[in-house]
């Protein structure tokens, strides 16, 4: 397929097993191609269905959606396992079977090792890279705008906050804030302890408050991620430069490259120092936002924040 095996080593005729290797390689490539098509077809069909299901699932925990989501993910994993098992059965085993018969000094040994390298790269690099793209796309299908959910709770709160009366004296009781669990509210007129039971919708607030805070501060997280990724980019840039200096003889060019390399290393060190700071900025903003959404959980959240920044 890639003409990698077309070279005839030292003019000798090609060994008998070469044809089997070629055939296996062709079949392996075809097989992976078919799996890739299957993955793409499955996901492109599933994503719109999942989005629709998420919007229409009436269950408050969206359990029907999550079952289908898990099913699609399971199917994807099955395909991946199938590729792995077939690689073990057809490629590794064939390599291991032929290997004992051929010495490393054999002029045709390269044919065998090339077979394994080409098949492995097609699988571990190309196939895996294509595969990994899809679970992320599926994950995006389960994102929903939590501001809408939050707004529903706020609207409901505005509608009910003055609606209740004391069960003992009939005096009006104002609900001061959004409660997300059952609580006692004492009547300002007769001091009777009334039990306030929030709606199912309001109870959901504490389940998605953190996610909502993360959505609101995602721009800060992006800034941190970009900074954090710079470290590797700068490292590779410097590495490329250092490789180009190996055969460089012109002293001026070398000097220039060395300055550039020092500069890159300086930037890299700066990034290493800066990235955690940006992460802390994001974390603080996220927790502040979380505390704003559920102020009653502030004490608990702050403990979590402390443990998160200290680890």
């Amino acid at each position: 397929m890639f003409g990698l095996f077309n070279k005839k080593e030292s003019g000798e005729p090609l060994p008998e097993w070469f044809a089997t290797l070629e055939e296996s390689k062709e079949r392996w490539f075809l097989f992976l191609e078919k799996l890739e098509i299957k993955i793409e077809e499955l996901c492109t069909a599933a994503i719109p269905e999942l989005k629709e299901l998420l919007a229409t699932d009436e269950d408050i925990y969206k359990r029907t959606f999550h079952r289908v989501y898990a099913g699609v993910n399971g199917q994807l994993q099955n395909i991946r396992e199938k590729a792995r098992d077939t690689y073990d059965d057809k490629i590794t085993e064939m390599y291991e079977n032929i290997k004992p018969e051929i010495s490393v000094l054999n002029p045709h040994y390269n044919l065998l090792s090339d077979f394994r390298t080409v098949c492995s790269e097609r699988y571990h690099k190309d196939f895996e890279q294509k595969y990994e793209y899809w679970p992320n796309q599926l994950e995006k299908a389960q994102e929903r705008d939590l501001e809408i959910e939050y707004q529903k709770i706020v609207t409901e709160f505005d509608a009910i906050k003055n609606k209740f009366n004391c069960k003992q004296c009939g005096g009006n009781i104002t609900i001061e804030k959004i409660f997300f669990m059952t609580t006692y509210i004492s009547c300002s007129h007769c001091q009777t302890q009334n039990t306030f039971d929030p709606s199912t919708q309001a109870r959901m607030l504490q389940n998605f408050a953190k996610e909502l805070a993360e959505q609101r501060t995602s721009h800060l997280y992006e800034i941190y991620l970009t900074e954090n990724n710079k470290e590797r980019e700068l490292y590779h840039e410097r590495h490329e430069l250092s490789l180009s200096t190996i055969h460089e003889k012109d002293k001026k060019v070398l000097e220039q490259k060395n300055i550039q390399m020092d500069n890159l290393e300086k930037q890299r060190k700066e990034v290493i120092k800066n990235a955690p700071k940006l992460y802390h900025t994001y974390l603080r903003a996220m927790y502040d936002e979380w505390n704003k959404i559920t102020p009653d959980l502030k004490e608990h959240n702050e403990k979590m924040y402390e443990s998160q920044i200290n680890n």
Binding site: V72, Q168, Y184, C190, Q193
Partner: protein
């Protein structure tokens, strides 16, 4: 052919997911409500300054445990 297979796989998956009973049964969606509990023993109402663990009039025990500070209920809510 392949597309047909996938759509039937997804349809079956959806059907089964919808058919499957939710663990713990169907969730009930309730509206917010307010209620008050009178003492089961003497019928007296519970007031803020009497605390919530015992009836302020006859001493009937509503809650067995000693309360500690929680999100809404505080240790001051223990009856004397």
């Amino acid at each position: 052919m392949e597309e047909k297979k996938i759509s039937s796989f997804l349809d079956r998956l959806k059907q089964n997911a919808k058919k499957q009973e939710h663990y713990g049964g169907k969730t009930e969606e309730n509206e917010a409500k307010m209620d008050a509990l009178n003492c089961i023993n003497c019928g007296a109402g519970r007031t803020k300054h009497d605390g919530i663990t015992h009836c302020g009039y006859c001493g009937y025990e509503f809650i067995k445990v000693k309360l500690t500070d929680g999100i809404y209920v505080k240790k001051e809510d223990n009856s004397l």
